[in-house]
Structure formats: C-alpha cells, structure tokens
Amino acid sequence: MQNVLVVDDELDVRDAIKRVLDRAGYFVRTTSDAADALAELRRCHADVVITDIIMPKINGVEAIDSIRKEFPAVRIIAISGGGNFGITAYQPAAITTTAYLAAASRAGAHLVLTKPFESKDLIQAVEQVLGVGHA
C-alpha cells in the first residue's frame, strides 16, 4: 500500500482528501502545516505528498523546496484555490493562482491541481505522479 501525506491548514479539506484516497486504497496521513509534515516524513516515509500552498508559518512553495531537498524520491502534488495574502496588498490583476502553482512547479512539484476538484481528478493526479496507468 502506498503512503500519501496530505498537508492543508483546513481540516475539512484534508479529511475529505483523506476519505477519497483511503477509499482508493492508499494509506493516508494528514498534517495541518509544513513543519509537521516534514516531521511526519522523517518519522515515516510517504510516496506522495499533497500540499496546499497558502498556509500559515511555512508556505507550500517553501515546504516543497524542503521536501525535495530532504526527500528527493517523494512525489509532490501542489493544490491551490488561488486568492491573495492580505487584501490591501498591491497585486495588479493578480494572477496568483497561476503564479503560485507556477512557483510550486519551479520549486519541484510534479503536478499542480486547482481547487476545487472532484474525486476522480484527485485519484487520477495521484496515479499520474506515481506513474500508475499514465506514463
């Protein structure tokens, strides 16, 4: 059974992802922030990490960077629903979803997924990064 670690600050999001992947036959663990995720990875190996990007303390891009350095074999899926930090920030025609996910790709994410997604999109994404079904 393959291990998946879900990192998201929203309880409902990570539980929902866990539920879908549990049923798809993966062993799923969840953490609410990147620091915990790194600790969890050190404690126990994971094949796939699904991480949100906009999170408190350590953001997803930094988390991906750290995971790629420490655990190069781990496959990473970045998920983001877009949006901004602080509403007063000057972000002209903010293309933040694209920017965040592009940043995640550059940091080493193998696949990026825009929230919200359906169960089949999620399962397909995990299979894709693990090289199951799709090449």
């Binding site: 901004n84 509403i87 293309i95 965040y100």
Partner: protein, 500 residues
Amino acid sequence: MARLRTSFANVVAACVVALHLVLLPALYYGLGYVVRKSHEDMFIEHARTFARVLADEFELGVALESDSRTEDLLDLAIVHGDGRYAELTDGGRSVRSKLGSPNIETPRRTDLTFEEGDDDIYFVVLPIVHAGHSAELRLGFDEQPTLERIHLALNRMLMALTVYFGVAMVIAIVLSRRLSRPIHRLQDVSRSIASGDYAQPLHVATGIRELHELAADLEDMRRELVGVNDRLQAKIKEKEISEIQREELQKLLRHRQRLETVGTLAGGIAHEFNNVLVPIILFTDTALQDLPASSASRADLERVLAAAQRAKDVVKKILTFSRELGDAKLALVDLRAVIAEGLNLFSALASPSIEIRTEIAETIAPVRADATLAVHLVINLCTNAYQAMQGTQGVLTVGLRNLPNSSLAGETRARVEFWVSDTGHGMDLETAERIFEPFFTTRSVGVGTGLGLSVVHGIVESFGATIVVETAPGKGSTFRIYFPAVLREEWPTESMAPVA
C-alpha cells in the same frame, strides 16, 4: 528735486534762438561797420577828388582873376559837389559862395574824418599856388545824404536779418517737428508694449539713420518680446494640459486601484469558497459511492454535487472578474503603445527626482500578449526600479527594440526585447536568482510584499516570453523581457488589440 523737462521741439527751437541771439547782433554790427566804412570812404574820396579838381581849376589862374569867376567855381562846388560851404581866401580877399549855408562861420581846418563835430559837414582845406598868389580853398561837404544812405542800408540789413531770423525759426520748428514725430511714434509703441500690447508692429518712416536704426532695434526687441511671450503662453498652456492629463491619469489610476482592491477582495473570497467546496464535493462523492443504488438519498446527494458544481462556476466567474484565473487573453499587441500607457500611469506616481529616459525603436514587430496585463508589467517593472532608487537622483531607462536573430535557450528566432534599467542599489547573485519567487521576501502570511516581481514573472510566462535580470550590488539592475515576435505573414488574420 524734480528736474524741469521740456520737449525735443522746444530744445531745438531754444537752440536756434540762442544761436541767433549770439550770431545775429555780431553779424549786424560787423556788416554795419563794413557798410558804414565803405560809405564814409566813398564820401571822403568823392569830397577830396572834387576839392582837388576845383583846386586844380583855381591853380590855372583864370578863376582867380575876378571875384565873379571865383564865385562861379565855388557855386559849382555847392551845386554839384553836395557842398554846404565854399570859400576862397587870397591874401586879404575872401570870396564865399552864396549858395552855401549862411550860418556856417568858421570852417575847421582839422575836420578830416567823417562825422567829426556835430555840424554834419566835412571840411576840406587846400592851398592854391599860382603866379604869386597864395590862396586857400575851403570847402564844406554835406555829410547828411551819406548818413541817410548808411542808415537806410543799416535798416535794410536789419530787416533782412529779421526776416532771416523768422524764416530760420519757422524752419527750425518744422524740422524739430519732423524730427520729433518718429520719436513720438517710438514713444507710443514703447508705451503700448509696456502696457502689454505687443501686437502693433513698429514702422517708423524717417530719413534719419540713427532714428531708423533705433526703430529697427526696437522692432527687433518687440519681435523678441512677442516670441518670448508666445513661448511663455505655449508653456503655460502645455503645463495646463499636462496638469489636466495628470489629473485624468490619476483618476484613471485611482479607478484601477479601486477595481484591483475589489478584485483582490473577490480573489480572497474565491479562495475561501474553493477550500469550502473541496470537502463538499469530495465527501458527497464518497457518500454517493457508499449508498446503494436504490437509496432515496442518492438523488439528494447528486443535487448537492450539482449545487457544488454551480458554486464552482460562480467562483470561476468571480475569479474571471478579478482576473484571478490568470488566463491572459492573448492578442496581437503593439508594445510601443503599451509602454506609452504604462509610463503615463507610472509617471503620475513617480517622484520628480527620478529621471525617466526612453530608448524606443521607431518600428516594433507586434507580439502576442494581453494588453492590460502588459501595461501592468510595465508599471510593475518601473515601480520595482523606482523602489530600488528611492531617496536617490536615479535614472530609469525604458527600452524597446527588435532582435531579428535572438538566441535564447537554444532557440534562434525574431524577438522583441523590452528592458527596464535603473541606477539603484542592484542585487547580489543569490538574491537575483530568487527574486521572481512569489514568497521570496514574504516570510509570514499576511504580509503582502514580495509578489511584484513574481507577478511580473507570471505575466511574462503567460505571454510565452522570457525574463532575465542583469544586476550587481551598487551597479543597478536591468530587467530584459524577450517576446517572441509575431512575423508579418502571421498577422493579417488577427487584429491588433487596443491598449486598455
């Protein structure tokens, strides 16, 4: 003390009068002396000649022989020689013409100059020697007719000089008027210039070279003033227009910033919604899988999914509104217009201590981009450059040129290069490598900085363009963006997108 001022005409008239008051009496007395002297000399010459001729006649001796002959000759002197007195003494004999003035008693022997004594008579005494006679001829000539001629001549001269003086005065007045006319004209025009009326050209008709040249110089000055005035007026107008443009731009910018604030807010809400939709969709999905096919709740859950899908669509619309999706609408864009618009907006914000230079080529190949995003790209790069130079007198250069054969990442093709360089603090290599990362300067959530250049990067990527940075600490930075040029044969099918 107030100085007495008089007109030019008066000065000329006064000068003429003063000159004549000095010259005319001298002339009068000088000429008078000559006239008088010549008359006197003529009179004396005539008297002496006449007396000599008479004396010669007596010396022939014929006249001396009888008193009547002597008297006849003496009468001749009275009648023909303007004589008043004629007498011959010969020893004890004395013959006197009865035609002379009877009251003249004793002729003076010493009266040898004109007007001597007060008797108006000029006396001549001549000795006559003839055959033992020792006679003396005494003649008295009347000075009166000569005196009258002298007075007449002097009076005529005085009249002539008076007429001359009058004519000279008239000529002086006329001349001074003619002289002062162009001066008055110059005065009028200089007064109207002083009162702000520059329109009147200065044409002064005068034959006097100095006045003509003065008028020409004044006309040059007037033209120069008109030119300066026109230039000043144009500058004021330009300033007014640029002030209006500035206000309009600031209004536009405020409007855009408001839109962006709304967009940013909408983006935040969309983010929250997307996170909420994830558990709704996923949990409903799994619940549906758990339920038997006959369950009555299946239809309800399918409706939940459909509703969630609708909510997703709504969020998508919100994101579209706030351009959150970042799906740039690519069209053919003229980067010259984009840069002009971007610089317009930017310069309304930038401090005047920054000098903005442009090096933009005349013709630039079109590129595929989203015009609005491209304008933001320009503003973001300029703002970044401006911030790098804050507190200094920096130079910001914006450039644009065609690169017909640009090699980049192993591909050679026609590109358009757009660059923004600053004379700011620059960056070290480590910093330069990470500046496009969205969270490079943002260490904690809630601090919205450090996204400017990542947004730039995102926009550049969405255009299929490439951005590179050249920088060194203390040497300023240059950001170069290479757009793939759209070749001429590719663009007739697409129309140029207007700049937002």
